[in-house]
Symmetry: C2
Subunit: 296 residues, 2 copies
């Protein structure tokens, strides 16, 4: 579609979709043009900040309840677990999502992994090697802040890995993710889409506020010069790697409140679809009740 | 003191202490009698549930702010980190503390480890072997739900390890913890003290509510028969293992709101004492500001 200059703007984001999973889902199998998508958009759900914050807060109890059920089910052998994959340019709000969205959950059943540049040990292995260990266990909510997708994004843009190798990696990623979903992992992949202008505002904020200097990495300025290449690399990922078992979601992320609402809502819809149940007791409660009362 | 039947009840808990660190601190070096301590007590701070919930909620923002500063400092080489050790009988509220107190923090800088019965691999190693890996990194808040103390508690009560070996372990634990605190770890060790009657109420609750059956472990009833032995084992720990660098705190835990308040308050006091600061920029903000503005 991008070839002939047409934008898929309203073909992906669909306010009439049944839910956010559907309204933000990237179809895959064709090249979309990210620049055509307004990162300040609010494709469905609340339309202003006040309503967004309210709608997100209202979800908190429901999310925590479903999370507890998912974990409870795992104690009786239910292998289901969730993996939220967060990708996006610097300052797109991956860390903010963990703080504000994952902060709504019970931390004891969250497994968070922030991927950094690979170590020499990790580079000596297949690129998927380091991704296996931090996967969530049954009943858990796993969160990847960056992920194996950096191995086709940064690795390609910085020309660390040849193009042919990158091509192979898309398929390997799809197969890897299929193995996970076949084994009970619900994959929720989110691309936090910010605009070039919004990134500038956020970088300036980090430079202007001494309490945010620690978040500023001088290398971010150099990476910003690679913005077009990164956007193309993301477009390629959003073409090649949405699969029926593991779709990508295009999250408009210039507005933090909307990003938080949309990802909370995505998690809620997936948890509701899993419909986890408290397990039936494998013991006779009446018998133990009696034993307990005899003891004291 | 326990020898001659005297209780140290008001000698440990001290409402006039400067702070909760002091008012709940176990002196160590002598045997206290746990049964003499009212697990429903509210030795300092709020005296009723409403005030307790309010006082805890009020701390949330301050805790999150200090946590961010601690993490920010680590990005500039500050090695300081916190390790909260939670111990207590079944149902004493270790999991509830993680949910309600650790839930106040940014999950991305929390490292939570729940220790279970050791695996065969872990048993083949020194008992401290498995404790090293889940330690918090600089800037992080580590949480141990159970810990290396199980290796002198359960291991002794269930007679898995001979008495002489247990004796040696107290010293090894003290040395281990000294190594950690010398390296920048602030250790906050909390014994969640519940009464025998409260444990019965909580176990009955788990038996009576189908949505809590998954939390009930039939083995808990057998463990409960070992209550006196466990209390003695804890008394021994609270005699041998409070050190100047790593004191123990006796948290009255029959009232959940008080437990949550006290541990939140302990974390706050320790964080305030650390007084972490946002690091000074190692770069010229004005220069990067200019470069950024030129780019777009």
């Amino acid at each position: 579609m991008a070839k002939d200059g047409k934008h898929r703007k309203h073909e992906i984001w669909n306010a009439d979709a049944a839910d956010v999973r559907e309204s933000l889902r990237v179809p895959g199998g064709e090249r979309i043009e990210l620049a055509a998508y307004d990162a300040r958009a609010t494709p469905s759900g609340p339309q202003d900040k006040e309503a967004g914050l309210e709608a997100t807060a209202v979800m908190a109890e429901h999310l925590a309840d479903l999370q507890e059920r998912l974990f409870a089910a795992s104690t009786a052998g239910d292998r289901r677990r969730i993996l939220l994959v967060l990708q996006g340019m610097d300052t797109s709000g991956k860390g903010g999502t963990v703080k504000h969205v994952i902060g709504l959950f019970n931390p004891s059943a969250c497994r968070i992994k922030a991927f950094k540049a690979p170590t020499p040990e990790e580079l000596a292995q297949h690129f998927l090697w380091r991704v296996w260990k931090p996967l969530p266990f049954p009943g858990e909510l796993g969160i990847f802040d960056r992920s194996h997708y950096e191995d086709v994004l940064a690795a390609g843009v910085r020309k660390i890995v040849p193009r042919r190798e990158i091509e192979r990696r898309y398929d390997e990623i799809n197969q890897f993710e299929k193995s996970l979903t076949d084994d009970g992992v619900t994959l929720i992949k989110c691309f936090l889409h910010i605009s070039y202008g919004e990134q500038r505002r956020r970088l300036l904020d980090r430079l202007d506020r001494p309490d945010k200097h620690w978040k500023f990495n001088p290398g971010d300025i150099d990476d910003r010069a690679l913005w077009p290449a990164y956007q193309k690399a993301y477009e390629k990922v959003l073409d090649r790697c949405p699969t029926p078992h593991a779709p990508w979601h295009l999250i408009p992320a210039d507005r933090k409140w909307y990003r938080n609402w949309a990802i909370s809502r995505l998690l809620l819809e997936h948890l509701e679809a899993l419909d986890p149940q408290y397990p039936k007791a494998q013991f006779d409660a009446a018998e133990y009740r009696e034993r307990l009362l005899k003891q004291s």
